[in-house]
């Protein structure tokens, strides 16, 4: 994308607002933040994210950062990763966390659910093959537990194993001893988290006004 001027001008933001559903004020705030993170450059790179101090104590930091550079999250049916992103892609990734509006039909709600779950699925499925294998899931659990000092590798493994077992039981029902469960596909993932109410949980409040950003 070409250089975006940081004017609160309507025309620049019009198509962005349409694409992502944010309001002009929200886009303005996020743009300011984007510039702050990228030190007024046009694109963000991974090391820009590493500068954020509060993010350092987050156990799944690397996965979050990767999610920003994952083409699958750009809503253009792309694959693979990029090394730098522009403001539009930043905004598109952020739009996954927008809360659903009050009056939506059931179909829209289902669509939003799928979108958000797809985001999380992409975060787990690091090798882009469309399934979450046992190794990938183990990695997820290990990352979650990585903050605790008393990490025992086998505990993480057994937790991931139990979780995988649960998925397989829910999705496959009955399997012969010889069959092999390849990994969690997106449909199984949907089925697994059917009760999770993600559309009301995976949201953050996007500000309409620019408060002094303390979380640098």
């Amino acid at each position: 994308m070409g250089a975006l001027q940081s004017l609160p001008g309507q025309p620049q933001y019009a198509d962005l607002a349409e694409k992502t559903g944010f309001s002009y004020d929200q886009i303005g705030v996020l743009h300011k933040r984007f510039n702050q993170l990228s030190h007024n450059e046009e694109t963000l790179r991974r090391d820009h994210f590493n500068d954020i101090p509060d993010l350092a104590c987050n156990p799944i930091r690397s996965q979050i950062i990767e999610a920003f550079f994952d083409r699958r999250n750009f809503r253009q049916n792309g694959e693979g990763t990029v090394d730098e992103i522009g403001f539009e892609q930043f905004l598109v990734v952020m739009s996954h966390f927008k809360p659903p509006s009050l009056h939506i039909t059931d179909d829209q709600r289902e669509k939003i659910r799928k979108e958000k779950l797809r985001f999380i699925f992409n975060m787990h499925d690091t090798d882009n093959d469309g399934t979450i294998t046992l190794e990938e899931y183990r990695h997820v659990v290990e990352e979650l537990l990585s903050l605790s000092e008393t990490l025992e590798k086998n505990t993480a493994k057994s937790i991931a194993d139990a979780a995988m077992l649960e998925v397989a039981s829910i999705s496959m029902g009955h399997m012969e001893p010889d069959e092999f469960y390849e990994g969690i596909t997106f449909e199984h993932f949907l089925k697994l988290l059917a009760e999770f109410e993600i559309e009301s949980r995976m949201n953050i409040r996007f500000l309409k006004m620019d408060t002094t950003t303390l979380c640098k």
Binding site: I64, I120, V141, T150, T155, M172, H174, N203, C215
Partner: protein, 744 residues
């Protein structure tokens, strides 16, 4: 709370219930009458008993009384126990008749019974006991509030804290002033004969009647299983509005004596509100921390652990009441503060005890409250005034609806998940009044107005409990309001809950503002780094939440196995998917491990089970002070571990890497969370020696040095059998513990 009995046939069960109920009522009546008669008789006896001593020479010596009657001696406790017994038998009776209990909420039935009993007592000319305010506030209310506070779903509560506070504070204030003001207007109407009710009295009345009552809300909402959000909104509001009620009540009471209100008084009122609420919370938090700290040292005296929880909480309530702070908020704060740390410290039995005692006491309290309400209705002097009463009822409804709609409009601007019209309706409809309003009214000084007020209050209570209580269930179904979802305790959901927490915190950081998640994360880290070290004993303090959840799940499944008896299949394998289906396979492994036939498995399992059962029967013993030596608990541990081991073995059936069970966390926790219905289990329960050697007698089997599992499966099973038999042999002669630990 419900004790379900299976009736042989419906008609006979109905007759039984009726018989039971009429028997109780008759018995009670007889006793009351008897006590009235005997009171005189006993007094007479007391007088005459002196005579033989003084006039022994003159009169003949009375024969030694073989059987004597002295009811006065035990009168008070006898009557109290009788009342409680009656109340509980009523409760029992209701659940025998299935149709009635589904249509009519229990609270209505209990009030009805109270009316009946009150009527009977009045008919025989006795004086009926009234719901004394002191009795209510000091003895009947705390157990219910503690039960509610201790098991409060924290996550939902804190997520909706803003909404709840707005409803509680602003909503109650609105209600009080609207009702008070409008009632004053009504009183001014000519011909209503209410001209002597002045503005301040009306406001006082408004403040009494405006508060949503936690007891009534609990009683009704418990049965309709509504979704968590609505439940916590209405319930949280009913708890937190206590501070407002307390302040308004005392404020207006003072003013109605003084007669005039100045601006200074109003400002003082606001300050008072802040002091009352925050002070109450502070008092509760202090006691909660004390309780948590105490529980850290109770590992050697497990029997009295539950008492600490109860007593600290009760002290928190009483201390708050001393300073006229909000006792309810203090109690809630104490329970909420104490719970995570206490749960990590206490044993499985103590936790179960706490849970069941709280449920038991709160159930008894609730039952008694409703019955007494009914009795007091019949007993008390009433001053019925059509205008006053009807307008009270109407105004309550109107103000509630207006308040909820208005506040929701404002709140929705700040909420992420907005409240829909359906939600608003349920919140408005769930604004039930109850016994707190009655007791507050009862505390008023005796006057004409008191009777007027009491009559109106009782009418409103009856209206809300009967009409709203009975119709809310069909309305919920009609409106298709979301119900409470059954929480299966899925480990995937737990993983993703945590994952989502961290993800949202990270995104907030990237966005650059301090949001809800950021603060929550900071609090968690503070908690982990400093607070837990002080308040949780031993290694539990560093255990991450995911691991404790996982352990809970495992133990839950193990306990399910144990409880369902020997014939149950392992639940994880209901779908016949086991670890082998998931593990990536290599060609070499297939050759090394032959499969085991299902019948052989069953045989082995049966043998293991039988051995355990035999040893269990031999070792039952009882000791009042020394729970730790209880081998029954020991044996349960054995069974749990055994089943768990079996499960794990099935799961890691064909793994090449030996399941290193030594490395899994030794110390686990058992607690019974009603929301999750999971169990965890505490090994430390069984350790008698110093904590440094966590492996207990049970760990023989699972903690045995890494068994090279490359052996054939048949061998694996055989070896386990041998170990199992060895284990049962050790346990069959309970020698000193060291021996058991060293054995195997």
């Amino acid at each position: 709370m419900a004790v379900l009995l299976r009736p042989p046939r419906r008609s006979s069960s109905r007759i039984t219930a009726l018989l039971v109920r009429s028997a109780c009522v008759l018995f009670l009546v007889v006793v009351c009458a008897a006590s009235a008669a005997r009171r005189d008789a006993v007094e007479g006896n007391n007088d005459t008993s002196h005579h033989p001593l003084t006039n022994s020479t003159a009169h003949k010596k009375k024969p030694f009384p073989v059987l004597s009657f002295n009811y006065d001696h035990v009168r008070k406790p006898f009557e109290i126990s009788l009342w409680i017994l009656l109340a509980l038998l009523m409760k029992l009776g209701f659940h025998i008749i299935p149709t009635v209990s589904t249509v009519v909420p229990e609270s209505c039935l209990l009030i009805f019974v109270g009316l009946l009993v009150g009527g009977i007592i009045k008919a025989i000319g006795e004086e009926a006991p009234i719901l004394d305010s002191k009795l209510f506030f000091l003895y009947l209310l705390p157990p219910i509030i503690l039960d509610a506070g201790y098991f409060l779903p924290i996550r939902a509560f804190t997520e909706n804290m803003g909404t709840i506070l707005v409803f509680a504070v602003v909503g109650t204030l609105w209600n009080a002033f609207f009702i008070g003001g409008m009632m004053y207007g009504v009183c001014q109407i000519e011909g209503a004969k209410l001209a002597d009710v002045d503005l301040l009295s009306c406001l006082l009345f408004g403040s009494i009647i405006s508060a949503v009552d936690p007891v009534a809300v609990l009683a009704v909402f418990e049965e309709i299983h509504i979704n968590e959000l609505l439940h916590i909104l209405v319930f949280g509001e009913s708890l937190l509005n206590d501070a407002v009620t307390v302040v308004l009540y005392h404020l207006f009471k003072e003013f109605s004596h003084a007669g005039t209100v100045t601006v200074v008084d109003a400002v003082l009122g606001v300050v008072c509100f802040l002091v009352v609420s925050l002070g109450g919370v502070l008092v509760g938090a202090i006691y909660g921390l004390l309780g948590a700290f105490t529980s850290r040292f109770t590992s050697h005296t497990r029997v009295i652990e539950p008492l600490f929880v109860f007593l600290y909480s009760y002290m928190a309530y009483l201390s708050a009441e001393v300073f006229h702070l909000s006792g309810i908020m203090s109690l809630i704060a104490c329970g909420v503060m104490m719970r995570p740390y206490v749960e990590a410290n206490i044993s499985h039995k103590s936790y179960t005890t706490i849970k069941y005692f709280l449920k038991m006491w709160s159930s008894v309290s609730e039952t008694l409250i409703f019955i007494f309400l009914g009795v007091s209705t019949v007993a008390g002097p009433h001053a019925w005034n059509w205008t006053f009463v009807v307008s009270t009822v109407v105004l309550c409804l109107v103000s509630r609806v207006l308040g909820v709609i208005g506040l929701t409009f404002i709140i929705n601007k700040f909420r992420i998940v907005k409240l829909t019209k359906k939600d608003q309706f349920i919140v408005a409809y769930g604004g039930l009044r109850g016994a707190i309003a009655f007791s507050l009214g009862f505390l008023l000084t005796n006057s004409e107005m008191k009777q007027l007020f009491l009559t109106a209050i009782i009418t409103v209570i009856f209206f809300t409990v009967f009409v709203q209580g009975m119709t809310i269930r069909p309305l919920v179904e009609l409106l298709a309001v979301k119900r409470k979802k059954e929480n299966k305790g899925s480990i995937n959901e737990e993983i993703h809950t945590q994952f989502l927490d961290h993800l949202l915190t990270g995104i907030e950081c990237i966005c650059g503002h301090y949001g809800h998640h950021h603060w929550k994360d900071k609090l968690n880290r503070f908690n982990k780094a400093y607070v837990k070290k002080w308040l949780i004993a031993g290694e539990r303090s560093t255990e991450p939440q995911l691991i404790s959840f996982y352990n809970k799940m495992e133990m839950k499944q193990a306990m399910m196995l144990v409880e369902s008896g020997s014939a149950a299949k392992l639940p994880t394998i209901v779908s016949s998917v086991s670890m082998q289906n998931i593990q990536p396979r290599g060609p070499a492994r297939r050759r090394a491990i032959p499969s085991i036939s299902k019948s052989r498995e069953e045989e082995i399992r049966k043998i293991l089970r039988n051995n355990l059962q035999k040893t269990r029967q031999r070792l039952r013993s009882y000791s009042r002070h020394d729970l730790m030596l209880d081998p029954f608990e020991d044996l349960s541990e054995v069974r749990f571990r055994k089943q768990r081991v079996e499960m794990e073995r099935r799961m890691s059936h064909y793994l090449t890497v030996p399941a290193n069970r030594q490395e899994t966390p030794q110390v686990r926790k058992v607690c019974f969370e009603p929301e999750h219905q999971v169990y965890t289990y505490d090994d430390s329960d069984s350790t008698r020696g110093p904590r440094s050697s966590p492996p207990d007698a049970v760990s023989l089997l699972s903690e045995s040095p890494q068994r090279p599992s490359r052996r054939g499966d048949g061998e694996l099973r055989a070896k386990d059998e041998q170990e199992e038999l060895k284990l049962s042999r050790c346990l069959s002669d309970p020698g000193p513990k060291k021996e058991e630990e060293g054995d195997g």
